[in-house]
């Protein structure tokens, strides 16, 4: 081995070592690791900006997501300020369509769709709906999955065997098949899409929680609690659950982009939210049909969807590395 691989120990090294072993709280340490991850920090900004826009943009916009102005249909994007630079100036093939349709007093940042509805407003309303569907479905998943996993793992024995068989069968049904069939049976609507998404979504969560419970339930602190006469419920919720929180949060964050994707897919197959409500998926589906004629109609929701997915993926990655460096996969 050559000498170049070694160097003298300096003050810098000792400080680093001390910092590493400093007695920091778990949360503080996780935060430190998270902030050190550039991608994760950027992703937080992306997500926050998108959520803020989803809340604020439709309120500030002079148009509503369902305002039909058929005389102003298919207008290209036009943004004040940028139009002087020759981009987003409302021109198609060199002709200012806004002037043509005598709509020069209007600014549609992302243009308008076939019905003359403002795409900027619709995209942000759609983001709201997509986030709502994904968020609600995943929250319910967490609720069911955590309880199922806790009970199954903690009680063990026959309870566990039966409960595990049930999850095994359910997880053998491809989520795609189940979700599509559920929506064919029920009417596609906001609630029904959420129900269909959560029906198989909780299984993954329950597995992870169960594995965690199995890991903790024979440890000393649980034994101590039991000896002191704490009830099963107390042990499950007060002793074991707090220890599994990290894993639950990570799984939760990873499920959100999945749910958003699945919702977009459903819209593509024609099982999306009912008109005139928009979701990112249904807007992409509508815009896709005009992609060759008016590409901006599909571009706006695709870009927002991609940013959102990107944000959630990077965020979950960062969170996982920060909370539980050992965990490599959900």
């Amino acid at each position: 081995m050559d000498d170049s691989k070694f160097c003298l120990c300096t003050k810098e090294h000792t400080e680093e070592a001390e910092k590493e072993y400093a007695n920091n709280s778990y949360a503080k340490e996780a935060l430190y690791h998270f902030v050190a991850n550039k991608g994760a920090v950027i992703s937080v900004f992306v997500i926050v900006i998108i959520i803020l826009l989803a809340i604020i943009a439709p309120i500030l916009s002079p148009y509503s997501y369902k305002d039909v102005q058929s005389q102003f249909s298919n207008l290209p994007p036009r943004i004040p300020g940028l139009e002087q630079l020759g981009v987003f100036n409302g021109c198609r093939d060199g002709v200012n369509v806004y002037a043509q349709k005598s709509a020069l007093n209007q600014y549609h940042f992302f243009g308008t769709d076939n019905l003359g509805r403002d795409i900027w407003t619709r995209v942000w309303c759609g983001t709201r709906i997509s986030l709502l569907i994904a968020g609600a479905a995943v929250l319910i998943d967490v609720f069911i999955g955590v309880i199922y996993g806790l009970v199954s793992g903690y009680f063990g024995g026959k309870t566990d065997i039966i409960m595990q068989r049930i999850t095994e069968v359910l997880s053998s049904l491809p989520q795609l098949v189940i979700v599509t069939l559920m929506l064919v049976v029920m009417k596609p609507g906001l609630t029904n899409i959420i129900i269909a998404l959560m029906i198989t979504g909780w299984i993954n969560m329950s597995r992870i929680v169960r594995a965690q419970v199995l890991k903790y339930k024979n440890q000393e602190f649980v034994l101590a609690a039991r000896t002191l006469g704490v009830s099963n419920r107390g042990i499950i919720f007060k002793e074991i659950l707090p220890n599994t929180l990290g894993q639950i949060i990570i799984t939760f964050m990873f499920s959100i982009p999945n749910a958003i994707f699945l919702e977009a897919f459903l819209a593509f197959v024609g099982l999306g939210v009912p008109a005139p409500i928009a979701s990112l998926g249904s807007m992409i589906n509508d815009g896709y049909k005009s992609a060759m004629t008016y590409p901006y109609m599909v571009m706006a929701p695709v870009v927002v969807l991609a940013l959102l997915m990107l944000g959630f993926n990077l965020f979950s990655d960062g969170l996982r590395d920060a909370i539980d460096p050992q965990m490599k996969q959900t």
Partner: protein
């Protein structure tokens, strides 16, 4: 090992039947009627048709009739997509192309993903690494129909490198574009996963030991890093399989591929019960078989798993 495989296989078979039952019951709830030209039929004519196809019997009885016929290779006939065509003919003639595209996309995606991941891990913080990050982030963030549209527009339409639509006269060339569109997600997730996994393997204690023993770098990477990385890459294959399935529905629609996915969408929209049931069932069987395979493969590669599961 043999016991483990047998046990897993037995559970899978039981699961298949439970699933068939669940699917049958679910489809029984489907609204609307499966017949064509409904606006031109009188209620009596619809009743006659229900009797003809045995749809007037109780649902449990129908299930066992269906199960019995199915075990004899008879999945019933199509009600309205290709009227009276045996579903086994319809489905199996389409299974090939769907499987081909799925397998090609799976293999291509895994290979390219592995390559990108390895290169990125070995040359961290270089152009290669950034490129891989960009590809993997885009691949998981963009829906496959966006890739499908881009590919068909540029490679199929503008530069005419590949056929725009599936052409059964040249099956291999026709599947190039669908395969690429479908493999993007696999490439992205395998690359991302391989990179993280390899970096963590290279930072592990046994690598330090091997390095200090003075093993040459090439050997080190091939026999230690790659092998250990491969083991854990297998675990991400199951979720990828699921994605290949959903992806194939979309991609088949976009390239007019006469596969199972496009038939499935048509069947759902036209209430052709038997076709929906058969394809849902086949999807489930493929999915279960793939999971079984991964489980067994995993058991062979990593003895710890096998022992823990027995």
């Amino acid at each position: 090992m043999k016991k483990y495989v047998l046990k897993r296989a037995a559970i899978s078979v039981i699961t298949v039947f439970v699933i068939l039952f669940l699917l049958f019951m679910l489809l029984n709830l489907m609204p609307g009627s499966p017949f064509n030209n409904q606006e031109k039929l009188s209620p009596e004519q619809i009743q006659q048709m229900k009797e003809f196809y045995g749809l007037d019997k109780p649902v449990l009885q129908r299930f066992f009739i269906y199960l019995w016929n199915m075990l004899h290779g008879d999945f019933g006939v199509s009600y309205n997509i290709q009227v009276n065509m045996p579903i086994s003919d319809m489905v199996f003639s389409r299974l090939g192309v769907t499987l081909a595209i799925g397998l090609q996309a799976g293999i291509l995606g895994t290979l390219i993903g592995l390559m990108l991941g390895i290169v990125a891990a070995l040359h961290r913080r270089t152009v290669w690494d950034s490129l891989t990050t960009v590809i993997s982030v885009l691949g998981v963030s963009l829906p496959s129909f966006v890739f499908a549209l881009l590919l068909s527009y540029f490679l199929g339409f503008k530069y005419r490198l590949f056929p725009l639509l599936y052409n059964s006269a040249m099956p291999l060339v026709s599947t190039v574009l669908p395969t690429i569109a479908l493999s993007m997600f696999t490439i992205a997730s395998v690359a991302r996963y391989t990179r993280t996994e390899m970096i963590s393997v290279m930072a592990s204690d046994y690598m330090m030991l091997a390095e200090s023993k003075g093993l040459p770098r090439t050997k080190l990477i091939v026999s230690h890093v790659l092998r250990n990385t491969m083991i854990s890459v297998i675990t991400v294959l199951v979720p990828l399989l699921v994605n290949l399935m959903t992806g194939s529905l979309v991609v088949e629609k976009a390239f007019s591929v006469p596969g199972l996915g496009s038939l499935y969408i048509t069947a759902i929209q036209s209430n052709d019960y038997n076709v929906v049931l058969a394809i849902s069932f086949i999807y489930s069987v493929m999915f279960i078989a793939a999971m079984l395979l991964v489980d067994i493969l995993y058991g062979i590669i990593d003895p710890r798993i096998r022992l823990a599961k027995e």
